[in-house]
Structure formats: structure tokens, C-alpha cells
Point group: C2
Chain length 291, copies 2
DNA sequence: TTTCTAAATCGGTTTTGTCGATTGATTATA
DNA sequence: TATAATCAATCGACAAAACCGATTTAGAAA
């Protein structure tokens, strides 16, 4: 049993397809087949069921995969530890962000990179669900998003700040004199909204439902920059957290009246995984930069 | 980085001597040197300091060894899990026992083996310290001993029963009419005692000290069966937990007066290590057999 | 100094991981 | 129903690497 074989096995488990797994591992399908077989021989139990040309995990494979993953993780944690030891001269930080919190990351990123220019970054934008899935697959070190309803036991949470939900309009708006606005008033306006996958959209549509209101949504779109372009024309309005347009000069945000009309930004990471020194330093800088 | 290399590294760390480590691993010293070097190259940091012809761990090696050990453990836990899955048809149980609790293990062993004849056993007798060291090196699954003063965080403890400290004499003794006996009376008798390494001896000599008594110890010996042979001659007495001579017909135990003159037998095992199904079954049978 | 010991290094052998091509068997398609 | 496409297993050949014994290097002991 070698780490190489465990990695092969885990990739095959993930994709449930030897050909694709082999390709993802940059080895031939023949090699993967042989190595899996060799592992099974050593363990004296099949890890995959071969049903025709399809494969599924056996019970043994399912149980074993937990330990295989942990073994692989511990080894890579050890490797990471040594890299960190090297005074942040190396290392990679993978962060997932919901678009609304874009400016929080970019500000910290610029600051951090000037102090530690050798640290690599991978910034992934996506919906909360997408990011959480990636976090669970060890593809991200940390994600920055709004609070989730279901808090999971294997996650660490750190609250950052709260931001009010707001009606977002063009700067040349007739609503400019308003300090706040009600959901009722909003339901009379033409709206362009982020698509259903975005947690903010889910959040706000529940609020409308509760108050028996039917908003006038004429556009749904899954790209926020494009959405903002549309809003700037003045023909539509949208609803976002205020923090989303922090750096947008041509847009104007009017907080929405009512309780629970705020969202909490938080950092989410995995418990019981070695936290990279570079990530720790970056998050520290990020948090301090908020003040 | 492969598990093979991690195992090599850990053995070298343990012995701090490449030649001996290689021999323990049944490989040549040349191979070990090369594999360690290769690992160091990959990690881009030396794991050992080469001070002359002596080696010591570097800080990096010290830190890395924790993860290396965990990685190796997780893999072998996974392997063990699969063996267990095989309905206790295979597997090995390694138990450490202090001699005093010999009969507890032997009784359970006989019972268990008739139900699961294919399970292998390794029974190691030793002092508490020796056994605990072996437990920490993953050479034992569980140990059966009396309570330790310092309870460690990475151990699981399960209390079994208490047994009084007792003066042990030959069955043909003039003391036979006594129901209990005081430390003072004992200090007048000729004693043969287990050697200083045994926790019972440490326990009882502290009790004598507290009461300003000086026992008349004429023999110290580090083998309990031999000690018992001597006691049977009637020329000496000794002090042991009553349970030690449970199966000895030629010996007689008189409980010692005073508070805290009992000891608690317990099972100790490692937390956060996969518990073998066979071990679990054996311990269950052992505990139920006490009732 | 000489002797001894332990790690590093060198060259050669064996093992094993890998590949491409092929086979056999199942699923999808015309 | 026949045909094409797909996927895992297998085979033989090759290259990589793990391994060994012998030798070198150098610190420690006598």
C-alpha cells in the first residue's frame, strides 16, 4: 500500500470511471487498472464492484476510502507544514468568494501580496453551495460568504461584519432622497435579480413571500458584473447586500426597512485540517483591514 | 512521498541510527540512506542533522514526523478495518498485562478463543511503565493494569474492579485466623517484595514511609511466579493486590487495614485510533466475565 | 597515530510502475 | 438486429526506481 495507490483509488472513487480518473491523474487507464487491482489484492477485498463496464464502490471501498483520504491528507498536511516553515517563501492560498464580498478580498489581496509577493493565490467566485462543495473536496482553504442556515459540525466559522440588504439603483435616480425603502415600495419597481442559485436571491424572495408581495422581476441573471451594468442604465433596480456595491460609484444603495434585513459575512474553513501559515497570515490581514 | 519512505523515516527517527534502522526494516543501510535523502529532496528540507557521524532530528523532522506517523496510522487503520469486516476471521490482538491481573486475561482468553479460534493473540507481561511505552508506540492494542497517578489525555480509561492490598503468606501460616492486618504488624515480618519497577511496590513503600515504618525487606525480585514460589515455603511474606493470587491454592491473603489500601484495575487504550473489532469483542467478553 | 564505526556514494541488478495495443464485454445507436 | 462506441482488463515491452554489496569518507574512540 502506497500513497500513490491511495490517491489513484480516491480519484477513481470520485469519478467512478477508470478512464476519466486515469486521464485526470495523467496516467494511462492500463496503469490505473493495474494499480487498483494490486491494492485490492493486498487488501484482500475488492474496492469496486464491476457491474458490466460500470463500476461502483463496494462497502469495503466506501469504508476504506475514509482512511485512505485521511492518510493522504495527513501526508500533504505534513508537506504543507514544512513549506510554511520556510517563512512564507512558498505556498498557495485558495479562496472561495461570493461576488458580493469581492472588494473585501481584493483589498486584502493587494495589501498581502506587497508584503509576501511569493505566495500564490487562487480566487474562486461562485455561489455558496458551489464553494462549500469545493471546500469539502479540499479544493479551497477558506471561503468568504454570507451565513448559511445549516451550520455544519466539521466547519469553523468566523463572523466578519453585517451588511444591510439594500435596493440598488443608478446614481441618477428619483429615489435618491430616500433614506430607507420598504418591500412594498420595491414590489412596484422593475427588478433585475441575480439567478436563483445565489443565496441573496433566495433570502430576499422568502422575505417577499412572507409579506405576501409579488415583486416585478423582469430579468434573472447569473453574472453580477453584467447585472450591475444593467442597473446603471437606470431601467431596472435590484436587491443586494449594501457591501456588494461598495466600490461602484455609479450605483446607489437604499437600505430596506424591516427586521432581519441584514446579512452576516463570514469566513468558513474546515476543522481538523492543518491551517497553512500563509492562510492564517492572510486572514489576519483581511480581518484587521476591515476595521 | 510514499508510505514506504514515511515508514523508513519513522524507524530512523525512532532509533536515530541508520544502520540499525535499516536492519530493523530488513533493508540495506545504503537503501535507507538513499530513500531518506530522496524524501528530504522532495520536501526541500533536511529531516536529520548530520552531526559528524551521529544523526539527530531537525525541527522540520520533528514537526513532520507527527504527520508522517498519522498518515501511516490512518493507512494501517484502514487496512485493519477491512480485516475486521471479514467477520473476525482474521486479526491479531496485542494485550499488555501486569502480572497481578494475569487470571483476568487468561479466563477471558480461553473463553474468547473457543468462539473465535482464528484470532491471534500476543500477551505481553511487564511493568506499567513498560506497557504504557509500548502502547504509545502502537505495539499494543490495550493494556490491563492498575490505575496510574498521571492520567494522560490521549488515553481512554475503563475501570474494571477494585482489589484490596493484602499480606500474602503460605496457607500454613500462623496468621490464618486474622481477618485484617496492620502495616505496623507487617513491618515486623520478613518480607520478599517485587522489585522497584512494579507499581504495587512503589505504592506500598510510599504507604510505609507515610507511617514512618521501616519494613523488613530481605528479598527483592522482578519475577512474580518465582516470588510466589518463595512465599509458599513459608519463610517469607509479601504484599500484593489480593487479585494477584486468585488462582493460587497454596497462598493466603490477609487484607491490610487502613484507607486507600485498595487498587483499581483498569483497561487503557489509545484515543483516536481505530479500535479493532476483535479487540472490542474481546474486551466486551472480558468485562462481562467479571460479573 | 591507528582503529573502529556509521553515513554517503558508486555501479550493477532486480523489481515494479508505466505505456500502447489489444481483447472482451456492455451499452448506445442506426 | 446489427453496428458502433465505450470501458475495464490483459499482455508484452520498456523505463524508472528500489535495492544491494562494495567502497569511500569522515568523525569518534583507543
Amino acid at each position: 500500500m502506497e500513497l500513490r495507490q491511495l490517491k489513484y483509488f480516491l480519484k477513481a472513487k470520485e469519478l467512478l470511471n477508470f478512464t476519466e480518473a486515469a486521464s485526470a491523474l495523467y496516467i494511462s487507464q492500463s496503469t490505473l487498472s493495474q494499480q487498483i487491482k494490486q491494492l485490492e489484492d493486498e487488501l484482500q477485498v475488492p474496492l469496486f464492484n464491476r457491474i458490466g463496464k460500470r463500476i461502483t464502490l463496494t462497502e469495503a471501498g466506501e469504508l476504506f476510502s475514509v482512511y485512505a483520504q485521511q492518510s493522504v491528507n495527513k501526508a500533504s498536511d505534513g508537506l504543507q507544514l514544512l513549506k510554511d516553515l520556510n517563512k512564507l517563501e512558498t505556498g498557495k492560498i485558495a479562496i472561495g468568494v461570493t461576488y458580493a464580498l469581492r472588494h473585501v478580498v481584493t483589498k486584502a489581496l493587494i495589501l498581502f501580496s506587497s508584503e509576501y509577493p511569493k505566495i500564490q493565490f487562487e480566487i474562486i467566485f461562485g455561489t455558496s453551495q458551489e464553494l462549500i462543495q469545493k471546500l469539502n473536496h479540499f479544493q479551497l482553504d477558506v471561503i468568504l460568504t454570507f451565513e448559511e442556515i445549516a451550520s455544519e459540525a466539521h466547519f469553523k466559522y468566523l463572523e466578519l461584519f453585517t451588511s444591510p440588504m439594500a435596493l440598488v439603483t443608478s446614481s441618477e435616480t428619483s429615489l435618491k432622497n430616500k433614506k430607507t425603502i420598504s418591500l412594498e415600495e420595491i414590489s412596484t419597481l422593475p427588478l433585475a435579480m441575480p439567478a436563483g442559485g445565489f443565496s441573496t436571491t433566495q433570502f430576499i424572495s422568502k422575505a417577499f413571500e412572507k409579506n405576501n408581495l409579488h415583486p416585478n422581476v423582469t430579468i434573472e441573471i447569473n453574472d453580477i458584473p453584467t447585472l450591475l451594468e444593467l442597473i446603471k442604465t437606470g431601467k431596472w433596480h435590484t436587491i443586494l447586500t449594501k457591501t456588494t456595491i461598495e466600490d461602484e460609484k455609479d450605483l446607489y444603495a437604499i437600505p430596506i426597512k424591516g427586521e432581519n434585513m441584514t446579512r452576516t459575512a463570514m469566513l468558513i474553513s474546515l476543522k481538523e485540517v492543518y491551517e497553512k501559515k500563509a492562510v492564517k497570515a492572510f486572514l489576519k490581514m483581511l480581518v484587521e483591514n476591515l476595521k
